[in-house]
């Protein structure tokens, strides 16, 4: 039951990326794998949106990037969360939670 890219809410991808990068330096391939694993294969992120999002976040200063060696011994670009990114993550998480609660509340009471 893979969810289409279009079903990801606007801005949600950014939050997911930030959340995953918050766990430690990771490259783009790792991020896509991690999202898939953690969401129990529900969410599959297209590379066509993942990489532009990564670069956009880097440009905004939320992510910092360095080149290093991957587990497989190849050169890879590792992304880390910056201080600014950490703040942004908190903000987005709390907003998301508020929204989710509100929607859940509506779903519960309206039925």
């Amino acid at each position: 039951m893979a969810v289409d890219r279009s079903d990801l809410l606007q801005g949600t991808l950014d939050m997911l990326i930030l959340k995953i990068v918050a766990l430690g330096p990771v490259h783009g391939y790792g991020i896509s794998q991690r999202i898939q694993q953690v969401s129990r294969e529900v969410l599959q992120v297209q590379q066509g949106s993942l990489y532009p999002a990564l670069h956009r976040l880097e440009k905004r200063g939320w992510l910092a990037a360095t080149w290093g060696e991957s587990e497989s011994g190849r050169q890879a670009k590792f992304y880390r969360l910056s201080a600014k990114g950490r703040k942004q993550l908190q903000l987005e998480e709390s907003q998301w939670n508020r929204l989710a609660e509100a929607i859940a509340l509506i779903l519960r009471t309206a039925s």
């Binding site: 391939y29 066509g48 532009p52 440009k59 497989s72 190849r74 050169q75 670009k77």
Partner: protein, 889 residues
Amino acid sequence: MTWWWKSLFRKRALDAQLTSEVRFHIDELTDANIAAGMSPQEARRRAVLEFGGGEQIKEELRDVHRVRVIESAIANLKSAFRFIRKSPSFSAVIIVTLALGIGANSAVFSAINAILLRPLPFPNGDQLMKLSQHYTKTNGVPTVVAPVRLEDWNRMNSTFQAMTGYYTENSSETSGTLPEKLKEAFVTQRFLQVWGVSPALGRDFSPEEEHFGGPNAVLISDRLWRSRFGASPDVLGKKLQIGDHSLPIIGVMPASFLFPERDVDLWSAVPVDAPIAQSRRWTWYAVIGRLQPDVTLTQAQANLAAVQAQLGRAYPETDKDLGVEIKPLKEVTVGESRSSLWMLFASVTLLLLIACTNIVTLLLARATHRQHEIAVRFSLGASRSAIVMQLLTEVFLLAFFGATLGLFVAAGASKAFRTLAADLPRVEEIRLDWRIALYALACSIAATLLCGLVPAIRGSSRALSPSLAQASRTQVSARNRLQWLLVGTQVAMAVMLLAGAGLLLRSFRALGQVSPGFDASRILTFRINGSYGETADWKKLSQRIEQTVDALGKLPGVEAAATTGDDLPGVPQHYPTELKFVEGEQDPQHKMVAESRFVSPGFFGTMQIPLLAGELCRDPLLQPKSTPEDPSGMHHVDVTRIEVLVNRSFAAAYASGPTAVGRHLSVLGLAFLKPDQAGEIRGIVGDAREEGMNREPSPTVYWCMTASGPDPFYIVRTHSAQPLTMSGTLRQKIREIEPQRSVFDITPLEERIDDAFAENRMRTILLTFFAATAIALACIGLYGTLSYSVNVRQREVGLRLALGALRGQIVQQFLLQGLGVAVIGCLVGWGLATAGGRLLSGMLYGVSPSDLTTLMSVVLLVLFVAAIASLIPAVRAARLDPMRVLREE
């Protein structure tokens, strides 16, 4: 910034990084597929497929990094145009305000640029210097230079490329039906070489023409060429008749050559080897020198001082006590207009600042209405800098339109300025060129930052537009405080300008009320041309002028006639001389310095300066005179009996009153009297403001010499209140007596005195105009801000009215709010005006820069106008219909 850098200069490195990042992903996917049991080829194919179009992704990534400076600028401009179209009246107000501000500023700057900043209009004009000699024993004024001394300087110095000299004379050209007055400059060798100018038509003087007994030759001005010869190219070789000389025209000077003096028509060469030019005493020439490249003024001064010291040893009698003064010609030309121009520039810049402040308040008010729009843009993901850029682009577009329109304003203003300031030096050089356009553009950028930055930063603040749902009224108070601060600033600046204008106006009036000690009304002044050649026979010259004065005095309609040297009473002019009494010992510590004036005996009667003691000078026509030949110094007066009158200040300062009468005065230094000559003090006359209305009378000696030079000023007191109506009669009479001479410069004395203060009048008019505009702008700012405040608080006012508040209370509240800011602005403005008053100190008369009455009346005026500006919105607030307001909310 780093992204900018990367994308612009490290494009290739970035591309390589993108490629390897993508390749890494595909490699990892391939590995994973192989681990899942696919063949390597199949694994690779699936990986590429799964990853999607690699090139397309890379392109998208590049897109993320691309700096879209131009694209975003165009987008911003488009939205700015939309903004202007959407709110035409708001935009028009800003554009017109800026057009006036930038236009006026550019106009004054064009004058500053032409008069003060640009070098003189000659090749390497900054190398040109004016040189004068002065007597070092007294602090005598620098004077013109003797021809031989000029040649010595030119030969012996090592810092100048060349030096030249000139003097001017008013001549009559008599080849036409009527004698025509022409101003003729007599120049020495190297004249055109020093200026670095060649004739527009024809040639320079030849060496033969510069030698005694050589052929005559004359260069004419462009103006004369056009008026007299219809700009015909075959003017060369035609002749002009001046006195006994027939002068062939050898060239026409370019129109831009307005030197040595603006109104010179002819240039002719004076032979340096003429016998008449060999005296070291007789000073003729205003000297202009061109410095060698890379020589400083100080070096030149040291060099010439050494040269003159050498001359002092060679000719101790005439050169020992002489010094050389060197000044840049530009400074001499610009003179005192410098301070006036900077003062005007400062005030017009203040005006532009007020205009900008006004626009800031407008934009701030506007920003409140745009909060919604900005909040929407934020929520769509725009960054703050993008929004600031967009808001700034809007202001820049407005400022740019304002500046463009301002250039037209400047063209008009600059024309008005030229008319108003026709007497300023170099005023014909003022024009609008690309520099002024560039300046206006710089003004518009400065205005953009000044006007736009604060509203843009505040307007784009996330804190102020956190959500779309909140109504604007909750944030009003904080923003309003800034607006009031700006209004106060405007009031303060306006008070400063108005105080300056007030001080100038007061001193202008004080000048008009001065009692000058003579009566300038009903007096007509003019000159009759004469040549310095006539001074070779002083007796004949004196007789000619005395007869003319006598005949003029007897004309019907004329009360009295007289002559005075080069100075007219009340028109600023200085001629300090050091004197000593022949009788008795002189205290060497107590120098006796007085102004010298040369007048005919009838001067005092004509000017109505009262005689206080003794007698007036005797009429020269009744005096027997002996005239010994004097080959050495023809400039010296050669009558044996010289009579003088002194003014009251002189008698009081140097001779304890009436005891002065009967004593004799001689002149120290190189002067008009030879060392063995002395003048007998015949009497004491009242003090008169001879040196200008703005100067207290100083000790003055009147030398009774009808002919102090070949063309003194004639002054005639008529019976008519309009003395100019007599000019026809006077001209006719002079034509009868002297058919070969022309009469010129016919002007009432009162007009000349006015003209002497033309610069004063110009700056007073302009500053008053600026100040009035400043007050208007400040009041508009006050009115606008208060109206806005009333609008925003409609609900509160409505509620209070509904709860029974009196309308008077509402009026009072808003009125006090407006006035309170005005009062604080006035206080600050008072302080600023006191500090800025120093800028005016040299321009004031009879009023101190911190004059209490002026400042008080300025403040009262501003408060009065501010009260009116506040009253309108305040009354409007009180007239609100509470029911309607509450319903609407």
